[in-house]
Protein backbone atom coordinates (compact mmCIF):
# COMPACT_ATOMS: atom_id res chain seq x y z
CA UNK A 1 0.00 0.00 0.00
CA UNK A 2 1.41 3.36 -0.96
CA UNK A 3 1.73 5.81 1.90
CA UNK A 4 2.25 9.53 1.62
CA UNK A 5 5.09 9.42 4.05
CA UNK A 6 7.14 6.85 2.12
CA UNK A 7 10.66 8.04 1.29
CA UNK A 8 11.63 8.09 -2.37
CA UNK A 9 13.27 4.80 -3.27
CA UNK A 10 17.05 4.76 -3.26
CA UNK A 11 18.25 4.07 -6.80
CA UNK A 12 20.17 0.83 -7.05
CA UNK A 13 23.83 0.84 -7.98
CA UNK A 14 27.20 1.10 -6.30
CA UNK A 15 27.15 3.34 -3.25
CA UNK A 16 28.86 6.61 -4.05
CA UNK A 17 30.57 8.80 -1.52
CA UNK A 18 28.60 11.94 -0.64
CA UNK A 19 30.52 15.01 -1.83
CA UNK A 20 31.72 17.50 0.75
CA UNK A 21 29.03 19.88 2.10
CA UNK A 22 29.07 23.34 0.49
CA UNK A 23 30.63 26.03 2.70
CA UNK A 24 30.44 29.18 0.57
CA UNK A 25 31.35 32.70 1.67
CA UNK A 26 27.95 34.37 2.30
CA UNK A 27 26.97 37.33 0.16
CA UNK A 28 27.11 40.62 2.05
CA UNK A 29 24.17 43.01 1.99
CA UNK A 30 25.56 46.41 3.04
CA UNK A 31 22.41 48.36 2.04
CA UNK A 32 20.30 46.27 4.33
CA UNK A 33 22.45 47.44 7.22
CA UNK A 34 22.24 51.06 6.12
CA UNK A 35 18.44 50.93 5.78
CA UNK A 36 18.07 49.25 9.17
CA UNK A 37 20.28 51.82 10.91
CA UNK A 38 18.41 54.77 9.33
CA UNK A 39 15.03 53.40 10.38
CA UNK A 40 16.20 52.70 13.93
CA UNK A 41 17.65 56.21 14.25
CA UNK A 42 14.40 57.84 13.07
CA UNK A 43 12.37 55.67 15.45
CA UNK A 44 14.67 56.50 18.36
CA UNK A 45 14.38 60.20 17.59
CA UNK A 46 10.58 60.13 17.51
CA UNK A 47 10.33 58.11 20.71
CA UNK A 48 12.85 60.35 22.48
CA UNK A 49 10.94 63.48 21.45
CA UNK A 50 7.77 62.22 23.08
CA UNK A 51 9.30 60.62 26.15
CA UNK A 52 11.30 63.71 27.04
CA UNK A 53 8.55 66.19 26.12
CA UNK A 54 8.97 69.02 28.66
CA UNK A 55 5.38 69.07 29.89
CA UNK A 56 4.73 65.34 29.88
CA UNK A 57 4.71 64.03 33.47
CA UNK A 58 5.32 60.30 33.51
CA UNK A 59 4.81 60.26 37.23
CA UNK A 60 1.17 61.21 36.58
CA UNK A 61 0.85 58.26 34.24
CA UNK A 62 2.22 55.97 36.95
CA UNK A 63 -0.05 57.52 39.52
CA UNK A 64 -3.24 56.84 37.55
CA UNK A 65 -2.30 53.59 35.81
CA UNK A 66 -3.53 51.39 38.66
CA UNK A 67 -6.17 53.76 40.00
CA UNK A 68 -9.24 51.83 41.09
CA UNK A 69 -11.57 53.88 38.87
CA UNK A 70 -9.40 53.11 35.82
CA UNK A 71 -9.22 49.39 36.67
CA UNK A 72 -12.96 49.26 37.25
CA UNK A 73 -13.58 50.89 33.88
CA UNK A 74 -11.33 48.31 32.18
CA UNK A 75 -13.70 45.64 33.47
CA UNK A 76 -16.68 47.57 32.06
CA UNK A 77 -14.89 47.77 28.70
CA UNK A 78 -14.19 44.04 28.69
CA UNK A 79 -17.73 43.23 29.80
CA UNK A 80 -19.24 45.42 27.08
CA UNK A 81 -16.92 43.88 24.46
CA UNK A 82 -17.97 40.37 25.47
CA UNK A 83 -21.73 41.06 25.55
CA UNK A 84 -21.71 43.07 22.31
CA UNK A 85 -19.78 40.28 20.57
CA UNK A 86 -22.13 37.59 21.91
CA UNK A 87 -25.10 39.57 20.59
CA UNK A 88 -23.25 40.21 17.33
CA UNK A 89 -22.18 36.62 16.73
CA UNK A 90 -25.54 35.01 17.61
CA UNK A 91 -27.63 37.48 15.67
CA UNK A 92 -25.07 37.47 12.85
CA UNK A 93 -25.22 33.68 12.53
CA UNK A 94 -29.01 33.85 12.43
CA UNK A 95 -28.90 36.58 9.76
CA UNK A 96 -26.41 34.55 7.70
CA UNK A 97 -28.62 31.46 7.74
CA UNK A 98 -31.63 33.63 6.87
CA UNK A 99 -29.70 35.23 4.03
CA UNK A 100 -28.90 31.79 2.55
CA UNK A 101 -32.40 30.45 3.17
CA UNK A 102 -34.58 29.26 0.31
CA UNK A 103 -37.32 31.44 1.78
CA UNK A 104 -37.17 34.70 -0.20
CA UNK A 105 -38.72 36.79 2.57
CA UNK A 106 -36.10 35.63 5.09
CA UNK A 107 -33.29 36.36 2.68
CA UNK A 108 -34.68 39.78 1.87
CA UNK A 109 -35.20 40.79 5.52
CA UNK A 110 -31.64 39.76 6.29
CA UNK A 111 -30.34 41.79 3.35
CA UNK A 112 -32.30 44.81 4.53
CA UNK A 113 -30.94 44.51 8.06
CA UNK A 114 -27.35 44.29 6.84
CA UNK A 115 -27.89 47.17 4.42
CA UNK A 116 -29.27 49.41 7.15
CA UNK A 117 -26.88 48.63 10.00
CA UNK A 118 -23.77 48.64 7.85
CA UNK A 119 -24.82 51.76 6.04
CA UNK A 120 -25.20 54.04 9.05
CA UNK A 121 -22.39 55.08 11.45
CA UNK A 122 -22.19 53.14 14.69
CA UNK A 123 -21.94 56.44 16.56
CA UNK A 124 -25.31 57.47 15.15
CA UNK A 125 -26.80 54.10 16.12
CA UNK A 126 -25.48 54.37 19.68
CA UNK A 127 -26.95 57.80 20.09
CA UNK A 128 -30.20 56.69 18.50
CA UNK A 129 -30.76 53.94 21.12
CA UNK A 130 -29.76 56.35 23.86
CA UNK A 131 -32.31 58.90 22.58
CA UNK A 132 -35.12 56.51 21.81
CA UNK A 133 -37.08 57.72 24.86
CA UNK A 134 -37.71 60.99 23.01
CA UNK A 135 -39.95 59.22 20.52
CA UNK A 136 -41.13 56.24 22.56
CA UNK A 137 -41.56 57.27 26.20
CA UNK A 138 -43.10 53.91 27.08
CA UNK A 139 -42.38 50.46 25.75
CA UNK A 140 -44.98 47.75 26.09
CA UNK A 141 -45.28 44.12 25.16
CA UNK A 142 -48.75 42.65 25.07
CA UNK A 143 -50.78 39.76 23.79
CA UNK A 144 -52.71 41.03 20.77
CA UNK A 145 -56.51 41.47 21.09
CA UNK A 146 -56.36 41.24 24.88
CA UNK A 147 -55.68 43.74 27.62
CA UNK A 148 -52.77 41.75 28.99
CA UNK A 149 -49.70 43.92 28.53
CA UNK A 150 -46.47 44.76 30.23
CA UNK A 151 -45.34 48.36 30.07
CA UNK A 152 -42.18 50.11 31.22
CA UNK A 153 -40.76 53.59 30.98
CA UNK A 154 -38.14 53.70 28.23
CA UNK A 155 -35.89 55.88 30.36
CA UNK A 156 -35.75 53.24 33.07
CA UNK A 157 -35.16 50.47 30.55
CA UNK A 158 -32.46 52.05 28.39
CA UNK A 159 -29.56 52.46 30.79
CA UNK A 160 -26.18 53.50 29.36
CA UNK A 161 -25.16 49.82 29.32
CA UNK A 162 -28.30 48.70 27.48
CA UNK A 163 -27.93 51.48 24.92
CA UNK A 164 -24.28 50.55 24.38
CA UNK A 165 -25.10 46.83 24.00
CA UNK A 166 -27.90 47.58 21.54
CA UNK A 167 -25.83 50.05 19.53
CA UNK A 168 -22.64 48.00 19.33
CA UNK A 169 -24.24 44.52 19.26
CA UNK A 170 -26.82 45.19 16.56
CA UNK A 171 -24.23 46.94 14.43
CA UNK A 172 -21.76 44.10 14.89
CA UNK A 173 -24.40 41.54 13.87
CA UNK A 174 -24.49 43.05 10.38
CA UNK A 175 -20.74 42.53 9.97
CA UNK A 176 -20.76 39.09 11.58
CA UNK A 177 -23.59 38.02 9.26
CA UNK A 178 -21.33 38.59 6.27
CA UNK A 179 -18.43 36.78 7.95
CA UNK A 180 -20.55 33.74 8.83
CA UNK A 181 -22.09 33.71 5.36
CA UNK A 182 -18.62 33.73 3.79
CA UNK A 183 -17.68 30.81 6.05
CA UNK A 184 -20.74 28.77 5.10
CA UNK A 185 -20.24 29.42 1.38
CA UNK A 186 -16.57 28.43 1.66
CA UNK A 187 -17.47 24.83 2.57
CA UNK A 188 -17.34 22.62 -0.51
CA UNK A 189 -20.75 21.77 -1.97
CA UNK A 190 -19.65 18.11 -2.08
CA UNK A 191 -19.74 18.03 1.73
CA UNK A 192 -23.43 18.91 1.79
CA UNK A 193 -24.16 16.40 -0.96
CA UNK A 194 -22.31 13.60 0.76
CA UNK A 195 -24.20 14.33 3.98
CA UNK A 196 -27.56 14.45 2.18
CA UNK A 197 -26.73 11.18 0.40
CA UNK A 198 -26.27 9.59 3.83
CA UNK A 199 -29.81 10.67 4.72
CA UNK A 200 -28.86 13.59 6.97
CA UNK A 201 -31.44 16.35 7.22
CA UNK A 202 -30.75 19.98 6.46
CA UNK A 203 -30.40 21.21 10.05
CA UNK A 204 -28.19 18.27 10.96
CA UNK A 205 -25.96 18.89 7.93
CA UNK A 206 -25.60 22.53 8.93
CA UNK A 207 -24.80 21.70 12.56
CA UNK A 208 -22.53 18.70 12.14
CA UNK A 209 -20.90 19.13 8.74
CA UNK A 210 -21.02 22.70 7.42
CA UNK A 211 -20.61 24.93 10.49
CA UNK A 212 -17.63 23.06 12.01
CA UNK A 213 -15.80 23.45 8.71
CA UNK A 214 -16.96 27.04 8.24
CA UNK A 215 -15.41 27.87 11.64
CA UNK A 216 -11.95 27.79 10.11
CA UNK A 217 -12.97 30.68 7.88
CA UNK A 218 -15.17 32.40 10.47
CA UNK A 219 -12.80 32.43 13.47
CA UNK A 220 -9.89 34.61 12.26
CA UNK A 221 -12.05 37.58 11.15
CA UNK A 222 -14.17 37.17 14.29
CA UNK A 223 -11.00 37.55 16.34
CA UNK A 224 -10.26 40.76 14.45
CA UNK A 225 -13.81 41.94 15.04
CA UNK A 226 -13.44 41.28 18.78
CA UNK A 227 -10.22 43.27 18.99
CA UNK A 228 -11.83 46.00 16.94
CA UNK A 229 -14.88 45.94 19.24
CA UNK A 230 -12.63 46.35 22.28
CA UNK A 231 -11.56 49.72 20.91
CA UNK A 232 -14.96 50.68 19.48
CA UNK A 233 -16.44 50.43 22.99
CA UNK A 234 -14.78 53.80 23.59
CA UNK A 235 -17.63 55.26 21.50
CA UNK A 236 -19.99 54.17 24.27
CA UNK A 237 -18.68 57.20 26.18
CA UNK A 238 -21.25 59.18 24.20
CA UNK A 239 -24.01 57.41 26.12
CA UNK A 240 -22.14 58.16 29.40
CA UNK A 241 -21.22 54.55 30.07
CA UNK A 242 -18.32 54.44 32.53
CA UNK A 243 -15.95 52.49 30.35
CA UNK A 244 -12.22 53.15 30.03
CA UNK A 245 -12.32 56.09 27.63
CA UNK A 246 -15.16 57.87 29.43
CA UNK A 247 -13.51 57.39 32.83
CA UNK A 248 -10.11 58.71 31.80
CA UNK A 249 -11.69 61.73 30.13
CA UNK A 250 -13.68 62.43 33.30
CA UNK A 251 -10.48 62.36 35.34
CA UNK A 252 -8.62 64.64 32.95
CA UNK A 253 -11.50 67.13 33.12
CA UNK A 254 -10.46 67.71 36.71
CA UNK A 255 -6.67 67.53 36.63
CA UNK A 256 -6.07 68.78 33.04
CA UNK A 257 -3.46 66.03 32.47
CA UNK A 258 -5.10 65.11 29.18
CA UNK A 259 -2.19 63.39 27.41
CA UNK A 260 -1.07 61.50 30.51
CA UNK A 261 -4.51 60.00 30.94
CA UNK A 262 -4.72 59.18 27.25
CA UNK A 263 -1.47 57.25 27.72
CA UNK A 264 -2.96 55.43 30.71
CA UNK A 265 -5.97 54.43 28.61
CA UNK A 266 -3.76 53.38 25.68
CA UNK A 267 -1.64 51.16 27.92
CA UNK A 268 -4.73 49.29 29.09
CA UNK A 269 -6.23 49.04 25.60
CA UNK A 270 -2.91 47.57 24.42
CA UNK A 271 -2.76 45.10 27.30
CA UNK A 272 -6.34 43.91 26.71
CA UNK A 273 -5.99 43.60 22.94
CA UNK A 274 -2.72 41.68 23.38
CA UNK A 275 -4.45 39.21 25.67
CA UNK A 276 -7.23 38.80 23.11
CA UNK A 277 -4.63 38.16 20.40
CA UNK A 278 -3.24 35.27 22.44
CA UNK A 279 -6.74 33.78 22.81
CA UNK A 280 -7.26 34.19 19.08
CA UNK A 281 -4.10 32.20 18.33
CA UNK A 282 -5.23 29.22 20.39
CA UNK A 283 -8.80 29.25 19.08
CA UNK A 284 -7.61 29.38 15.47
CA UNK A 285 -5.22 26.56 16.18
CA UNK A 286 -8.07 24.50 17.57
CA UNK A 287 -10.24 24.92 14.46
CA UNK A 288 -7.32 24.28 12.10
CA UNK A 289 -7.31 20.63 13.21
CA UNK A 290 -7.89 18.31 10.30
CA UNK A 291 -7.43 21.04 7.74
CA UNK A 292 -3.69 21.50 7.86
CA UNK A 293 -1.17 18.66 8.02
CA UNK A 294 0.82 20.11 10.90
CA UNK A 295 -0.44 22.66 13.39
CA UNK A 296 1.69 25.74 14.10
CA UNK A 297 3.53 25.20 17.38
CA UNK A 298 2.45 27.11 20.45
CA UNK A 299 5.04 29.48 21.94
CA UNK A 300 5.70 26.91 24.73
CA UNK A 301 6.27 24.15 22.18
CA UNK A 302 8.63 26.42 20.27
CA UNK A 303 10.60 27.19 23.43
CA UNK A 304 10.78 23.51 24.39
CA UNK A 305 11.89 22.52 20.90
CA UNK A 306 14.56 25.19 20.92
CA UNK A 307 16.01 23.96 24.23
CA UNK A 308 15.69 20.35 23.13
CA UNK A 309 17.47 20.98 19.84
CA UNK A 310 20.28 22.77 21.66
CA UNK A 311 20.96 19.77 23.87
CA UNK A 312 20.37 17.28 21.13
CA UNK A 313 22.66 18.33 18.37
CA UNK A 314 24.18 21.74 18.93
CA UNK A 315 21.82 23.78 16.75
CA UNK A 316 23.38 26.75 15.03
CA UNK A 317 22.37 30.20 16.29
CA UNK A 318 20.46 30.90 13.08
CA UNK A 319 18.41 27.73 13.56
CA UNK A 320 17.62 28.78 17.09
CA UNK A 321 16.57 32.20 15.86
CA UNK A 322 14.41 30.68 13.15
CA UNK A 323 12.69 28.62 15.82
CA UNK A 324 12.10 31.55 18.10
CA UNK A 325 10.69 33.58 15.23
CA UNK A 326 8.49 30.62 14.40
CA UNK A 327 9.44 30.26 10.76
CA UNK A 328 6.68 28.55 8.82
CA UNK A 329 9.00 25.87 7.61
CA UNK A 330 9.20 24.66 11.18
CA UNK A 331 5.50 23.68 11.15
CA UNK A 332 6.01 20.34 9.49
CA UNK A 333 7.16 17.94 12.08
Amino acid sequence: MTEFTADPPVPPGPARQRPEAIRAVPLHHPWRWVAAIVVVLILAGVVDTFITAPDLHWSVVGQWLFDSRILQSCLVTLYLTAIAMIVGVSLGALLAVMRLSANRVMSWVSWLYIWFFRGTPVLVQLFFWWSIAYILPYLSIGIPFTHIAWTASTNALITPLVAAILGLGLNEAAYMAEIVRAGIISVDQGQTEAAHALGMRRSLVMRRIVLPQAMRVIVPPTGNETISMLKTTSLASIVTLHELYFTQSQISLFNYRIVELLIVASVWYLVMSSVLTVFQFYIERHYAQGSVRGLPPTPMQRLRRMLFQFHDRQATPSELLANVAGSRRGWRR
Binding site: E193, H196, R208, S291
Partner: protein
Amino acid sequence: MATPMVRAESVHKNFGRNEVLRGIDLEVAPREVMCIIGPSGSGKSTFLRCINHLEKIDAGRLWVDGELVGYRERGGRLHELPDREVCRKRSEIGMVFQSFNLFPHMTALENVVEAPTRVKRETMAVASERGRALLDRVGLGDKLDAHPRQLSGGQQQRVAIARALAMQPKLMLFDEPTSALDPELVGDVLNVMRDLAHEGMTMIVVTHEMGFAREVGDSLVFMDSGAIVEAGSPREVIGNPQQQRTKDFLSKVL
Protein backbone atom coordinates in the same frame (compact mmCIF):
# COMPACT_ATOMS: atom_id res chain seq x y z
CA MET B 1 -40.10 -11.87 -11.14
CA ALA B 2 -38.86 -9.91 -8.18
CA THR B 3 -39.38 -6.14 -7.99
CA PRO B 4 -36.49 -4.43 -9.74
CA MET B 5 -34.23 -2.50 -7.38
CA VAL B 6 -34.23 0.44 -9.78
CA ARG B 7 -36.67 1.08 -12.60
CA ALA B 8 -36.50 4.13 -14.84
CA GLU B 9 -39.20 4.99 -17.31
CA SER B 10 -38.52 7.75 -19.79
CA VAL B 11 -36.59 9.85 -17.25
CA HIS B 12 -35.99 13.41 -18.41
CA LYS B 13 -33.93 16.10 -16.71
CA ASN B 14 -32.97 19.55 -17.82
CA PHE B 15 -30.87 22.29 -16.30
CA GLY B 16 -32.56 25.39 -17.69
CA ARG B 17 -32.77 24.90 -21.45
CA ASN B 18 -30.05 22.28 -21.42
CA GLU B 19 -31.54 18.78 -21.70
CA VAL B 20 -29.25 16.52 -19.72
CA LEU B 21 -31.38 13.35 -19.72
CA ARG B 22 -33.65 12.67 -22.67
CA GLY B 23 -35.69 9.62 -21.83
CA ILE B 24 -33.79 6.99 -19.87
CA ASP B 25 -35.42 3.54 -19.60
CA LEU B 26 -33.69 0.83 -17.64
CA GLU B 27 -34.10 -1.79 -14.95
CA VAL B 28 -31.64 -3.01 -12.36
CA ALA B 29 -32.49 -6.31 -10.68
CA PRO B 30 -31.57 -7.04 -7.05
CA ARG B 31 -27.96 -8.25 -6.75
CA GLU B 32 -27.20 -6.92 -10.23
CA VAL B 33 -24.08 -4.86 -10.95
CA MET B 34 -24.75 -2.35 -13.71
CA CYS B 35 -21.94 -0.29 -15.16
CA ILE B 36 -22.66 2.94 -17.02
CA ILE B 37 -20.06 4.26 -19.44
CA GLY B 38 -20.02 7.20 -21.80
CA PRO B 39 -18.26 10.45 -22.61
CA SER B 40 -18.28 13.25 -20.04
CA GLY B 41 -21.41 15.35 -20.23
CA SER B 42 -23.48 12.39 -21.36
CA GLY B 43 -25.67 12.55 -18.25
CA LYS B 44 -24.36 9.42 -16.45
CA SER B 45 -23.63 11.21 -13.19
CA THR B 46 -26.85 13.21 -13.34
CA PHE B 47 -28.86 10.02 -13.74
CA LEU B 48 -27.09 8.50 -10.74
CA ARG B 49 -27.88 11.59 -8.67
CA CYS B 50 -31.55 11.38 -9.67
CA ILE B 51 -31.77 7.90 -8.16
CA ASN B 52 -31.27 9.22 -4.61
CA HIS B 53 -33.07 12.47 -5.38
CA LEU B 54 -30.03 14.73 -5.16
CA GLU B 55 -31.51 15.99 -8.44
CA LYS B 56 -35.21 16.19 -9.25
CA ILE B 57 -36.36 14.65 -12.51
CA ASP B 58 -38.54 16.76 -14.80
CA ALA B 59 -40.49 14.04 -16.59
CA GLY B 60 -40.87 10.27 -16.51
CA ARG B 61 -40.91 7.98 -13.50
CA LEU B 62 -38.18 6.54 -11.34
CA TRP B 63 -38.68 3.81 -8.76
CA VAL B 64 -36.29 2.38 -6.17
CA ASP B 65 -37.36 -0.95 -4.70
CA GLY B 66 -40.89 -0.40 -5.98
CA GLU B 67 -41.31 3.07 -4.49
CA LEU B 68 -41.35 6.31 -6.48
CA VAL B 69 -38.30 8.50 -5.89
CA GLY B 70 -39.13 11.85 -4.30
CA TYR B 71 -42.89 11.68 -4.85
CA ARG B 72 -46.04 9.92 -3.76
CA GLU B 73 -48.84 9.22 -6.20
CA ARG B 74 -52.28 9.98 -4.80
CA GLY B 75 -55.51 10.63 -6.69
CA GLY B 76 -53.73 10.53 -10.01
CA ARG B 77 -51.33 13.33 -9.02
CA LEU B 78 -47.77 13.41 -7.79
CA HIS B 79 -47.16 14.95 -4.39
CA GLU B 80 -43.66 15.94 -3.30
CA LEU B 81 -42.45 13.91 -0.36
CA PRO B 82 -41.60 15.77 2.84
CA ASP B 83 -37.93 16.23 3.67
CA ARG B 84 -38.10 13.55 6.35
CA GLU B 85 -39.27 10.91 3.86
CA VAL B 86 -36.70 11.86 1.22
CA CYS B 87 -33.95 11.55 3.84
CA ARG B 88 -35.24 8.17 5.03
CA LYS B 89 -35.10 6.83 1.48
CA ARG B 90 -31.66 8.28 0.86
CA SER B 91 -30.40 6.59 3.99
CA GLU B 92 -31.13 3.23 2.33
CA ILE B 93 -29.00 4.08 -0.70
CA GLY B 94 -25.24 4.40 -0.42
CA MET B 95 -23.35 6.78 -2.65
CA VAL B 96 -19.64 7.11 -3.40
CA PHE B 97 -18.35 10.24 -5.12
CA GLN B 98 -15.53 10.93 -7.52
CA SER B 99 -14.01 13.45 -5.10
CA PHE B 100 -14.54 11.22 -1.99
CA ASN B 101 -16.20 14.04 -0.02
CA LEU B 102 -15.08 12.69 3.33
CA PHE B 103 -15.73 15.05 6.24
CA PRO B 104 -12.28 16.55 6.81
CA HIS B 105 -12.89 17.58 10.42
CA MET B 106 -13.57 13.99 11.48
CA THR B 107 -11.35 10.93 11.73
CA ALA B 108 -11.94 7.91 9.49
CA LEU B 109 -13.99 6.15 12.18
CA GLU B 110 -15.96 9.31 12.99
CA ASN B 111 -16.80 9.65 9.29
CA VAL B 112 -18.13 6.11 9.28
CA VAL B 113 -20.22 6.31 12.47
CA GLU B 114 -21.64 9.80 11.89
CA ALA B 115 -24.72 8.80 9.88
CA PRO B 116 -25.59 5.58 11.76
CA THR B 117 -25.56 7.40 15.10
CA ARG B 118 -27.19 10.65 13.97
CA VAL B 119 -29.63 9.41 11.32
CA LYS B 120 -30.47 5.88 12.43
CA ARG B 121 -29.88 6.72 16.09
CA GLU B 122 -27.77 3.67 16.73
CA THR B 123 -25.73 3.69 19.93
CA MET B 124 -22.11 4.68 19.61
CA ALA B 125 -21.01 1.22 20.75
CA VAL B 126 -22.98 -0.60 18.05
CA ALA B 127 -22.07 1.86 15.31
CA SER B 128 -18.38 1.97 16.11
CA GLU B 129 -18.13 -1.80 16.35
CA ARG B 130 -19.55 -2.12 12.84
CA GLY B 131 -17.49 0.89 11.71
CA ARG B 132 -14.27 -0.78 12.86
CA ALA B 133 -15.23 -3.99 11.12
CA LEU B 134 -16.01 -2.14 7.88
CA LEU B 135 -12.76 -0.17 7.93
CA ASP B 136 -10.95 -3.41 8.62
CA ARG B 137 -12.68 -5.00 5.65
CA VAL B 138 -11.55 -2.23 3.27
CA GLY B 139 -8.01 -2.67 4.56
CA LEU B 140 -7.85 0.36 6.82
CA GLY B 141 -8.14 -1.22 10.25
CA ASP B 142 -5.00 0.64 11.29
CA LYS B 143 -6.22 4.08 10.14
CA LEU B 144 -9.27 4.52 12.41
CA ASP B 145 -8.00 7.74 13.96
CA ALA B 146 -6.45 9.25 10.83
CA HIS B 147 -7.97 12.42 9.40
CA PRO B 148 -8.78 12.35 5.67
CA ARG B 149 -5.85 14.68 4.89
CA GLN B 150 -3.46 12.13 6.28
CA LEU B 151 -4.72 9.44 3.89
CA SER B 152 -3.92 8.85 0.24
CA GLY B 153 -6.68 9.20 -2.33
CA GLY B 154 -7.20 5.45 -2.53
CA GLN B 155 -7.44 5.18 1.25
CA GLN B 156 -9.90 8.08 1.38
CA GLN B 157 -12.11 6.47 -1.22
CA ARG B 158 -12.13 3.21 0.72
CA VAL B 159 -13.16 5.10 3.87
CA ALA B 160 -15.93 6.67 1.77
CA ILE B 161 -17.12 3.21 0.73
CA ALA B 162 -17.07 2.07 4.35
CA ARG B 163 -19.02 5.20 5.31
CA ALA B 164 -21.72 4.37 2.76
CA LEU B 165 -21.85 0.70 3.79
CA ALA B 166 -22.23 1.65 7.46
CA MET B 167 -25.85 2.61 6.71
CA GLN B 168 -26.45 -0.97 5.52
CA PRO B 169 -27.84 0.17 2.16
CA LYS B 170 -29.79 -2.02 -0.23
CA LEU B 171 -28.28 -0.23 -3.23
CA MET B 172 -24.89 1.35 -3.83
CA LEU B 173 -24.26 4.13 -6.36
CA PHE B 174 -20.68 4.76 -7.48
CA ASP B 175 -19.98 7.99 -9.37
CA GLU B 176 -16.62 7.55 -11.11
CA PRO B 177 -15.06 6.28 -7.88
CA THR B 178 -11.56 5.86 -9.33
CA SER B 179 -11.35 8.82 -11.70
CA ALA B 180 -9.55 11.08 -9.23
CA LEU B 181 -7.00 8.46 -8.18
CA ASP B 182 -3.39 7.83 -9.13
CA PRO B 183 -3.23 4.75 -11.38
CA GLU B 184 -1.35 2.85 -8.66
CA LEU B 185 -4.19 3.34 -6.16
CA VAL B 186 -7.09 2.37 -8.43
CA GLY B 187 -6.63 -1.36 -7.86
CA ASP B 188 -7.23 -1.23 -4.10
CA VAL B 189 -10.56 0.55 -4.58
CA LEU B 190 -11.68 -1.77 -7.41
CA ASN B 191 -10.85 -4.80 -5.25
CA VAL B 192 -13.14 -3.55 -2.51
CA MET B 193 -15.91 -2.98 -5.06
CA ARG B 194 -15.39 -6.42 -6.60
CA ASP B 195 -15.73 -8.07 -3.17
CA LEU B 196 -18.89 -6.10 -2.57
CA ALA B 197 -20.33 -7.30 -5.89
CA HIS B 198 -19.50 -10.91 -5.07
CA GLU B 199 -21.35 -10.59 -1.78
CA GLY B 200 -24.50 -9.72 -3.72
CA MET B 201 -24.76 -5.96 -3.30
CA THR B 202 -26.86 -4.24 -5.95
CA MET B 203 -24.60 -1.67 -7.56
CA ILE B 204 -24.76 0.99 -10.25
CA VAL B 205 -21.28 2.08 -11.22
CA VAL B 206 -20.49 5.02 -13.47
CA THR B 207 -16.96 4.30 -14.55
CA HIS B 208 -14.25 4.50 -17.17
CA GLU B 209 -12.68 1.23 -15.98
CA MET B 210 -13.51 -1.11 -18.88
CA GLY B 211 -11.71 -4.02 -17.25
CA PHE B 212 -13.90 -3.74 -14.17
CA ALA B 213 -17.05 -3.34 -16.28
CA ARG B 214 -16.25 -6.46 -18.29
CA GLU B 215 -15.18 -8.61 -15.37
CA VAL B 216 -17.54 -7.60 -12.56
CA GLY B 217 -20.53 -6.03 -14.31
CA ASP B 218 -23.67 -8.03 -15.08
CA SER B 219 -24.88 -5.40 -17.50
CA LEU B 220 -23.38 -2.45 -19.30
CA VAL B 221 -25.06 0.73 -20.50
CA PHE B 222 -23.46 3.14 -22.93
CA MET B 223 -24.88 6.68 -22.69
CA ASP B 224 -24.34 9.66 -24.94
CA SER B 225 -26.02 13.09 -24.95
CA GLY B 226 -28.53 12.14 -22.29
CA ALA B 227 -29.79 8.94 -23.88
CA ILE B 228 -28.96 5.24 -23.75
CA VAL B 229 -27.24 4.31 -27.02
CA GLU B 230 -26.64 0.66 -26.31
CA ALA B 231 -27.17 -1.73 -23.41
CA GLY B 232 -26.58 -5.39 -22.83
CA SER B 233 -24.13 -7.80 -21.32
CA PRO B 234 -20.67 -6.24 -20.95
CA ARG B 235 -19.08 -8.84 -23.23
CA GLU B 236 -21.51 -8.11 -26.06
CA VAL B 237 -21.39 -4.34 -25.79
CA ILE B 238 -17.62 -4.15 -25.48
CA GLY B 239 -16.79 -7.08 -27.75
CA ASN B 240 -19.37 -6.55 -30.47
CA PRO B 241 -20.91 -3.08 -30.34
CA GLN B 242 -23.86 -2.57 -32.70
CA GLN B 243 -23.97 1.22 -32.87
CA GLN B 244 -21.37 3.33 -34.64
CA ARG B 245 -21.30 5.80 -31.71
CA THR B 246 -20.43 2.98 -29.30
CA LYS B 247 -17.69 1.74 -31.61
CA ASP B 248 -16.17 5.22 -31.82
CA PHE B 249 -16.22 5.65 -28.04
CA LEU B 250 -14.78 2.21 -27.30
CA SER B 251 -12.01 2.62 -29.85
CA LYS B 252 -10.86 5.67 -27.90
CA VAL B 253 -10.97 4.24 -24.38
CA LEU B 254 -9.85 0.65 -24.92
